[in-house]
Amino acid sequence: MADTGRAGQTLENYPLYIRSVPTENELKFHYTVHTSLDVVDEKISAMGKALVDQRELYLGLLYPTEDYKVYGYVTNSKVKFVMVVDSSNTALRDNEIRSMFRKLHNSYTDIMCNPFYNPGDRIHSRAFDNMVNSMMMQVC
């Protein structure tokens, strides 16, 4: 059974959205996501003046620790997506992770289109929830 958590976080690094399946160990995921932010920041600063294209938005495996892997993705507006996946889930390939991040990014932009959404708010969109749920079900 794969545990998955994902979070979108902004510049100030507070989470806009966190979802994990199954729902226990949520606190652990919170912690993991937070600590992985450091790694993300490191990677962003390392990129420096590199051209920002889709590929580089995907940060890849941040670090494999203990029994899970952490993947990162950052958008043009510095919104970071962090995905924590159980290590035992070896079926997940890099491409799949990329596509998942792409879907997340698309949903996020859809949310941004909503004039009632203020950037920096927590995300309550049902469409977003549905999309995330379906993705996580797919993985598990």
């Binding site: 902004t10 510049l11 100030e12 932009t109 909503n114 009632f116 950037p119 920096g120 309550h124 969109s125």
Partner: protein, 577 residues
């Protein structure tokens, strides 16, 4: 006679009428009616079916026979029999008494299939009464077929299944009859023609080009005025902005507006956009001809029952006609409706007069005026509802809520006393400039006007036909003012009321005169005119009250806005990103 029966059947002992007890009780009743002593043994006899005087027909009789055979099965009719007698008192005499008991059975399965989203009780009640009339015969047939069946649960399952088939048949028949009304009125996610017109009008106010779109911020401001909480508005946006481009095209806007209206009326927002609100659907639907309006009117006339519901739908129509999308077509619709009016002939004089009044420049006013005679013919509650739709241009108008309108109609007499004060104080800029022209127009009007206001529902008894006719014209002015205000900004609206009342009356005066010889002929017509006057006064009072309420609301909203703006200012430096 009854106590012994309850004792004998064991109900008294047990404390309630279970199926067995009920069945025994009926048998005992039959026995008693046939003259047999009330004892357990008598039910063993071959008895004729019990007769129930309270109930018109022998439906109980049939239940009695089935009870003989299947005590278990009786459980279902047991519950419904109570309903049956209850319904008798409600709905009077029915041809097929079976149908009332059947409706509780079949309506639950039916409701998911056809009237799935029908919290509107009037629609449901209407359909049920129609169903009942058509269902008695088929039900009896099937009922006898079922007599030898086994477990009641099986029966219950099959009965609704069979009833559903006839239901669908009857519903399809009904659908043909009432197609525009039921499908449009019952499904809360379907946009009616008048609603669509209103939405289109609102869209136009935000974005004159109907093929273009409304930007997100503009739409946000607009929908925020509806005072729904932001998360809900966010959800509504999510549902309606199908292409997720941050802007609303016309069909998307209509869908969003409709959702807002529905939410304001208490409906829960759906998880996904209903089919009838999809942009493709709405675009296709918008191409349907306006002819549907006239068909709707003729149908509404021919259908029996549910007058209240007709009023409801017709006032929606009335409010739609206030919006001048296509005045020529609307005139036709109104002509048809005029013929269909159940009101006395004298009231038809008024529409004719208004027809002359439409010669003037402002088409909106003419439509509004023409809408008046129709709304006058109904209860004042419906008038208030129509005006509500007209008077809240920035905020989506709430669909009339029955409890509220009834309460307001009760207060009418009280309001009417305050009519003058309400008129003077409640109405802001438009009335003061508009009121003077009225007296200045003609001398005869002035005394009649003075007579009108302080009086209650009693029409002035000493009214000559002249003044009576002119009074109608006079009363035409107040109803039209709110609609004028609705359709233009207040600045613009000020000019037209000043000019048009004068034009109104002068053009109508010559037309009034030809009517005079006709009127002089019968006092019956005069009386009818007086009732019309009375109704106009009621409408006037209602409108005045509504106006004052809205002014109050406006003040509150202003206060809220100021508070929010100060809050915003305070929070501004702290914004993220």
């Amino acid at each position: 006679c009854c106590p012994p029966i309850t004792e004998v059947c064991g109900a008294k002992r047990v404390g309630y009428f279970g199926p067995a007890q009920f069945y025994i009780a009926l048998k005992l009743i039959a026995a008693a009616q046939s003259g047999f002593p009330v004892r357990i043994e008598s039910i063993k006899n071959e008895l004729p079916l019990p007769r129930f005087m309270a109930l018109k027909n022998d439906s109980e009789v049939r239940y009695g026979t089935t009870a003989e055979l299947h005590g278990v099965k009786f459980q279902v009719p047991h519950a419904t029999l109570e309903k049956n007698s209850y319904k008798r008192t409600d709905e009077g005499d029915k041809q097929e008494p079976k149908s009332p008991p059947m409706s509780p059975i079949c309506s639950p399965p039916a409701s998911p299939s056809t009237y799935q989203r029908v919290p509107l009780s009037y629609g449901y009640g209407k359909s049920r009464s129609g169903l009942e009339q058509q269902h008695g015969a088929p039900y009896e047939v099937r009922h006898s077929a079922h007599q030898q069946d086994g477990p009641s649960s099986g029966n219950y399952g099959t009965k609704p299944a069979l009833t559903c088939s006839t239901l669908n048949r009857s519903l399809s028949v009904e659908r043909e009859q009432q197609d525009s009304s039921t499908s449009y009125s019952d499904d809360p996610w379907r946009i009616t023609e008048e609603q669509r017109d209103y939405y289109i009008n609102q869209f136009r106010s935000l974005q004159p080009d109907l093929n273009s779109f409304i930007s997100g911020s503009v739409a946000k401001n607009f929908f925020t005025k509806s005072k729904l909480p932001i998360p809900e508005l966010s959800h509504i946006w999510e549902l309606s902005d199908v292409d997720c481009d941050g802007a609303l095209t016309l069909p998307e806007f209509c869908a969003a507006f409709h959702l807002v209206v529905a939410r304001k009326n208490g409906y829960q927002l759906p998880e996904t956009l209903p089919e009838t609100l999809l942009p493709e659907y709405l675009q296709a639907a918008s191409l349907k001809p306006m002819r549907d309006c006239t068909l709707f009117d003729s149908y509404s006339e021919s259908l029996p029952g549910g007058q209240q519901t007709r009023d409801f739908s017709r006032t929606e129509k009335a409010s739609a006609e206030e919006i001048p999308d296509n005045s020529a077509l609307l005139q036709d619709a109104k002509k048809d409706d005029k013929q269909a009016l159940k009101v006395s002939t004298a009231l038809k004089m008024i529409p004719k007069e208004f027809q002359h009044l439409t010669v003037k420049t402002a088409a909106q006013e003419s439509n509004a005026l023409k809408a008046r005679p129709r709304s006058r013919s109904y209860s004042s509650t419906s008038i208030e509802d129509a005006m509500k739709k007209g008077e809240e241009p920035p905020t989506p108008p709430p669909r009339p809520q029955k409890s509220h309108s009834r309460a307001s109609s009760l207060d009418l007499n009280k309001i009417f006393q305050q009519n003058t004060q309400a008129v003077r104080s409640g109405w802001l800029p438009p009335p003061p400039p508009a009121l003077p022209p009225r007296p200045s127009v003609s001398q005869t009007e002035q005394p009649s006007e003075v007579e009108l206001h302080p009086q209650t529902n009693r029409p002035p008894s000493q009214a000559e036909e002249n003044s009576a006719a002119k009074k109608e014209v006079v009363l035409a002015q107040p109803p039209s003012k709110p609609t004028r205000r609705k359709l233009r900004t207040e600045a613009q609206g000020l000019e037209t009321p000043e000019l048009s009342p004068t034009i109104n009356v002068t053009s109508s005066l010559p037309t009034v005169k030809p009517h005079l010889p006709v009127q002089k002929q019968s006092s019956k017509q005069k009386r009818a005119i007086q009732t019309a006057i009375r109704k106009n006064k009621e409408a006037n009072a209602v409108l005045a009250r509504l106006n004052s309420e809205l002014q109050q609301q406006l003040k509150e909203v202003h206060k809220e806005r100021i508070a929010l703006e100060t809050q915003l200012e305070q929070l501004r430096p702290v914004t993220v990103l």
